[in-house]
């Protein structure tokens, strides 16, 4: 897109996390909203960031929270005066419906897998662990409609793209702007860790496969391995080789990661798990499932394991524990791979996609 004279206006609809200091402090992914903003600005737009007063948010359910946020924006921002509306698909669904497609383009970001995939992976899993699976069919209707009515959908990785192109009407609309990692903030330890530690990051134990990680560790009881649980409210009892950091500010994550040799994330459903890229940048070797494995090459800079397979993960950990030189080599590879995944590249890719859509 060539812009002449005054900048063209864009409305960025990031969701309430953008203005939530607590999310900003604790959730690693929230900084991505800033990079999205930079990508839009780089495409030549004068960007307004939508904000919704708290009293207008009905926080009862995820649906009501999203719908109330989305409605406020469509009612209070002059949608047709923007050349572009861009943001999280569900948070902008009213604006997408309201816009005049001839005047205003709509681009949606997706950084979780499509709802159908999440349901396939998690519904039974929650039932198995007596957890309450809290999504409603209307959320899926809201998401899919917003995506279908968007001119373009930007996914954070190929896996997320692949789950979305199976939604009818999206086959040719989904592009990828691969997320990056801050390799200065997340850098390797100057010395190899003195103990062999495995990191399990994640706040939702069922979704992130905690039970399969524990299964893996049971199979490795003969080895001296420590486990660091990071992010959730985990209580460790009668297990001297487990420690829990609890919820910690994101700024403290690099130090936690640097103490570990391996990040084990047998997640059942994820977008592009930030923690995998961050661990890689720290030279921590990832072992994870397909859904979080886009950032590395299997057998070179990490290991891919099947879903719900504690044994395979145990085999890989045993291999790395028994071969310090292999561990060192993969740690180096993983850091190098992370260095190619920069936020600068993400911003460029995003801005190119935006320009193409708005041409």
């Amino acid at each position: 897109m060539v812009l002449h004279g005054d900048k063209v206006k864009a409305l960025y609809i990031p969701g309430p996390s953008f203005h939530d200091p607590q999310v900003r402090e604790y959730a690693g992914w929230a900084k991505i909203l800033d990079y999205q903003l930079q990508g839009i600005e780089k495409a030549g737009f004068d960007v307004t960031v939508a904000e919704v007063p708290k009293e207008y948010i009905d926080a009862g359910t995820s649906f009501s929270q999203i719908a109330s946020y989305s409605l406020y924006i469509a009612a209070n921002y002059p949608i047709d005066s923007y050349k572009l509306i861009i943001g999280a698909q569900s948070y902008m669904h009213y604006s997408i419906m309201r816009r005049n497609p001839a005047k205003t383009r709509a681009i949606s970001f997706v950084w979780n897998n499509a709802d159908w995939h999440r349901d396939v992976m998690l519904k039974d899993e929650y039932a198995k662990h007596h957890g309450k699976y809290t999504t409603l069919p209307i959320n899926t209707v809201m998401n899919d409609t917003a995506l279908r009515m968007s001119d373009c959908v930007v996914a954070c990785c190929p896996f997320v793209k692949n789950t979305h192109i199976q939604i009818s009407g999206l086959a040719n609309k989904v592009k990828v702007a691969f997320w990056g990692v801050d390799s200065e903030m997340f850098s390797p330890a100057l010395e190899q860790p003195s103990e062999f530690k495995v990191l399990f990051p994640g706040t939702d134990p069922i979704r992130k496969g905690l039970v399969y990680m524990l299964g893996t560790m049971r199979l490795l009881q003969d080895l001296e391995i420590k486990v660091v649980l990071c992010g959730g409210q985990y209580t460790v009892r009668d297990a001297s080789n487990f420690e829990s950091t609890g919820m910690i500010p994101h700024s403290e994550m690099p130090d936690v990661m640097r103490q570990c040799s391996i990040v084990l994330l047998p997640t059942l459903e994820d977008g592009l798990a930030c923690s995998v890229q961050e661990a890689m940048a720290c030279g921590v070797v990832p072992i994870t499932t397909d859904t979080a494995a886009d950032p590395f090459e299997h057998n070179v800079s990490g290991f891919r394991i099947p879903y719900r397979d504690s044994e395979m993960a145990a085999e890989y950990i045993r291999l790395l524990k028994g071969n310090p030189s292999l561990l060192l080599c993969m740690s180096h590879e993983t850091r190098i791979k992370a260095l190619t995944q920069t936020w600068g590249k993400y911003i460029n890719d995003l801005s190119n996609i935006i320009k193409k859509v708005c041409e």
Binding site: G60, F63, A67, S68, A75, H93, R99, P101
Partner: protein
């Protein structure tokens, strides 16, 4: 021509249909749309698509489901409750005509009347600013708004240009609701409403106590007994919720309908009482169906003293009570559903022909 009619979730709710008198109005509205020459579609939203955690989420989820249906089909007219239809009104693609049907006062008026009243009664006032925003935006997208009374029109005229609001007054079924051949002795007073705070039960109760011997019995219909904290009073009889089909028999056993409501659209109970020859005493918000001092009494809001005076007057003057009863019935007979359907259909036709 094709119309999408978006009535509200009550349309398909069997419990609401059995107990809430106003729900039948949705059928009269549908009949009117057909009379205006439309092939009418009413979408039923599956229960599992409704997020009923709050009134906002319930309405927004219903509205979203129907809005998507409207997107996938071409309609010449979208008509219904503005909040339930707001997703369909939002859509910018098919550009059908949009008519919002309102039968409650505008939110600003409801808030003004009720917020303090609920606090005074230690109850949570159940609305959110986002509900008001949803209604306002939806109304602003309508080509026309149809109100059921002048008072409802007046409160909505603060939100929508007055010329965009038309009125189709509600009717009453004067065959179902008819007077008793004989009345019991004394003055039996009826309160009829499901929400005791909104409908002013506190003020009704005070007035009845102050009226002393003038009131022989006070029947409370429509409120669930557990919601009530009525002081011990031998005159009070709590009837609870009854199917709407049983309401006429109860109304016609009474002499007076006492409804000192603080906020209402056009309360059907008033018209139904009138059709039974029962004299209404109500506030201005419920008083459009009758002539003050001829076929009923209009009292100020929150004024038990004024109510007591009316009750004493009717007790002391049996002739006046009889005259007003006859006048109320006569007036109700002129308020038919056929008239409503005709007026509603005419407004639709006007919108389709006159608005580009």
């Amino acid at each position: 021509m094709k119309a999408l009619y978006i009535p509200s979730s009550s349309y398909h709710d069997m419990h609401a249909k059995t107990y809430a008198g106003w729900v039948k109005i949705l059928e009269y509205q549908e009949a009117a749309i057909r009379q205006a020459g439309f092939d009418v579609t009413v979408v039923e939203v599956p229960e599992n698509y409704i997020d009923d955690a709050s009134s906002f989420s319930q309405i927004a989820s219903y509205s979203l489901y129907v809005g998507i249906f409207s997107m996938m089909n071409k309609f010449d007219l979208i008509i219904g409750s503005p909040s339930y239809a707001h997703h369909a009104f939002f859509l910018n693609n098919n550009l059908p005509k949009r008519i919002g049907v309102v039968w409650n006062q505008a939110d600003w008026f409801r808030d003004k009347q009720l917020q303090e009243e609920f606090e005074r009664n230690d109850s949570d006032y159940p609305t959110l600013p986002i509900n008001n925003l949803m209604n306002e935006v939806s109304l602003s997208l309508c080509d026309r708004v149809i109100a059921n009374s002048h008072f409802v029109k007046k409160t909505h005229a603060e939100l929508v240009p007055e010329e965009k609001i038309s009125i189709a007054p509600w009717g009453v079924d004067s065959e179902m609701f008819f007077p008793a051949t004989e009345k019991p002795p004394g003055l039996r007073v009826l309160f009829f409403g499901s929400n005791p705070i909104r409908k002013g039960l506190t003020y009704a109760d005070r007035a009845v106590i102050d009226a002393g011997e003038a009131v022989s019995e006070f029947w409370v219909l429509g409120c669930s007994p557990e919601k009530l904290d009525v002081p011990e009073n031998s005159k009070v009889r709590v009837l609870g919720m009854v199917p709407h089909a049983e309401v006429p028999e109860i109304i016609r056993q009474c002499h007076v309908l006492l409804l000192p409501t603080l906020e209402d659209g056009m309360p059907l109970a008033v018209q139904e009482a009138m059709a039974c020859g029962v004299v209404p005493i109500t506030t201005e918000v419920g008083a459009e169906a009758f002539d003050d001092c001829r076929s009923g009494f209009v009292v100020p809001y929150r004024d038990p003293g004024a109510i007591t005076k009316c009750l004493k007057l009717l007790h002391d003057s049996p002739d006046l009570l009889n005259t007003m009863s006859r006048e109320a019935r006569r007036k109700a007979e002129t308020q038919t559903w056929v008239k409503f359907v005709n007026a509603f259909a005419s407004i639709i036709e006007e919108v389709m022909h006159d608005i580009p």
